[in-house]
């Protein structure tokens, strides 16, 4: 295999501020990830790049911290009986195929329209998926909250579960039986999205809930199994090309392993619709954030004219709003835990 060994002198010098930033984003990202099954990556990669880390090293290091975090989160939530391992493994296998095809599509776009075209494709996918899926999840979460937090299987999932198409698979942990052919597209889309915007969970979790009919709590926990399998494969690949800066990985892991366990504990304090609420909130804020980054790519492609100062300002606002998405998400999680704890204490008294 061709080794693209990175010149180690290109690794950044770690300042105290950089260490604190990575640790904190790791912690908050871990908290959100333990709770909704994905999160944090969309801030960490641009965050590392803003510290001077080359793009590929940022992506590789991010992925290398993601899979052990997902593993620890999955083990924790497995102990709470929330993980459907069988579903996770089947989805991970189809997600693996999705990743390969996603990478292939990216290469075709890169060859045809260059870096700016590729950036535009990534941003448009981000905005489209996040607005469409995030909007739907938010609508459902609000509906769920209004009717007392009772989760119902969607009409689509119920209909699909009734179709007897060989091979039918039993998922006793999720309490459902469905044809393999209906689980494959969800896993495939998760992998495609992971290869495009690096956050496959934004499609994987809603897909499991609304298409397959997995309960929200279980879908978010099962996503951690998929994230682990995809992350491990991707990390080995990146590490063989020498792209992982292990120092960055360990700093982020320091924070995220604390956060992911707290997030996993948090799921036992809240009603299932809170997971949908947090996920939708983060998705919609990130959609706005990526929308603000679109003019940069449109200018690069020559479709739009805009001054460099305005573009720089838009990019700063875009990054700040992504950080805000994580902060608001973690605020909702910690707030819900606090309320849950008070209710528990009041019950015990």
């Amino acid at each position: 295999m061709d080794i693209l060994s990175l010149d180690p002198t290109k690794f950044i010098d770690l300042s105290t501020m950089a260490i604190i930033f990575l640790f904190l984003v790791g912690f908050i990202g871990g908290l959100v990830s333990g709770f909704i099954g994905s999160g944090g990556a969309f801030v960490l990669t641009p965050g590392m790049m803003s510290l001077g880390v080359p793009g590929t090293v940022a992506v590789a290091s991010n992925m290398c911290h993601k899979f052990p975090k997902a593993l620890v989160g999955a083990i924790k939530r497995f102990r709470y009986g929330q993980v459907d391992v069988k579903m996770g493994l089947i989805m991970a296998a189809s997600a693996g195929i999705g990743v390969q095809i996603g990478i292939h599509i990216q290469r075709i776009i890169l060859d045809m329209w260059g870096q700016a075209g590729s950036d535009l494709y990534v941003s448009l996918s981000f905005v489209f998926v996040l607005v469409f899926v995030g909007g739907y999840v938010m609508k459902d979460a609000v509906k769920c909250a209004r009717c007392g937090g009772v989760e119902e299987t969607t009409a689509l999932a119920t209909r699909l579960q009734k179709i007897e198409l060989w091979p039918m698979i039993n998922f006793p942990r999720s309490g459902l039986r469905i044809s393999l052919w209906f689980t494959l597209p969800v896993g495939f889309a998760t992998g495609m999205l992971a290869a495009t915007i690096a956050v496959g969970g934004f499609v994987g979790v809603p897909g499991m809930i609304y298409v397959i009919g997995v309960p929200g709590l279980m879908a978010s926990a099962t996503e951690l199994v998929i994230a682990f399998a995809m992350g491990l494969g991707g990390s080995i690949n990146w590490a063989m090309h020498g792209m992982v800066d292990i120092r960055l990985v360990l700093i982020i892991l320091g924070g995220s392993l604390l956060g992911v366990q707290l997030g996993a504990i948090g799921t036992t304090y809240v009603r299932p619709h809170m997971i949908k609420m947090v996920m939708a909130t983060i998705m919609l804020i990130v959609a706005v954030s990526r929308g603000l980054a679109l003019p940069t790519y449109l200018v690069k492609l020559g479709v739009m004219n805009m001054g460099p100062d305005t573009l720089s300002l838009l990019n700063k606002v875009s990054f700040a709003s992504m950080c805000m998405a994580l902060l608001i998400g973690s605020g909702i999680i910690l707030g819900s835990m606090w309320i849950g704890r008070r209710a528990q204490l009041a019950e015990a008294a």
């Binding site: 006793p172 309490g175 039986r177």
Partner: protein, 98 residues
């Protein structure tokens, strides 16, 4: 927490895994730049970062888990462990109810 699964707090394990994690991080970052440069050679060196993150997941993961327990933040044991039975598969062959 009122509903923690066990009233006994794992203080000993927290200190043990905390010390091991701290020792690991101190040892690593003493030679951090050097180790990172070696791991960046790719190929078989890929085993380095993967093994390192697994080791940290175990040591720091155990520490973090015990730390939250010691701080009184533990999961509420609801009926989450209940396994829901999947719908029974309909009989494929006719059965004679004689």
């Amino acid at each position: 927490m009122a509903t923690s699964q066990s009233n006994k707090k794992p203080i000993g394990r927290t200190i043990l895994f905390g010390a091991l994690t701290a020792a690991f991080y101190t040892g690593f970052f003493t030679y951090g730049d050097n180790i990172a440069a070696h791991f960046a050679q790719g190929s078989f060196w890929a085993a380095g970062p993967i093994a390192t993150v697994f080791a940290v997941s175990y040591l720091h993961g155990e520490f973090a888990s015990n730390l939250w327990s010691v701080l009184g933040i533990a999961a509420i044991s609801k009926d989450a462990k209940k396994t829901v039975e999947a719908t029974k598969r309909p009989a494929q062959r006719p059965v004679l109810n004689a």
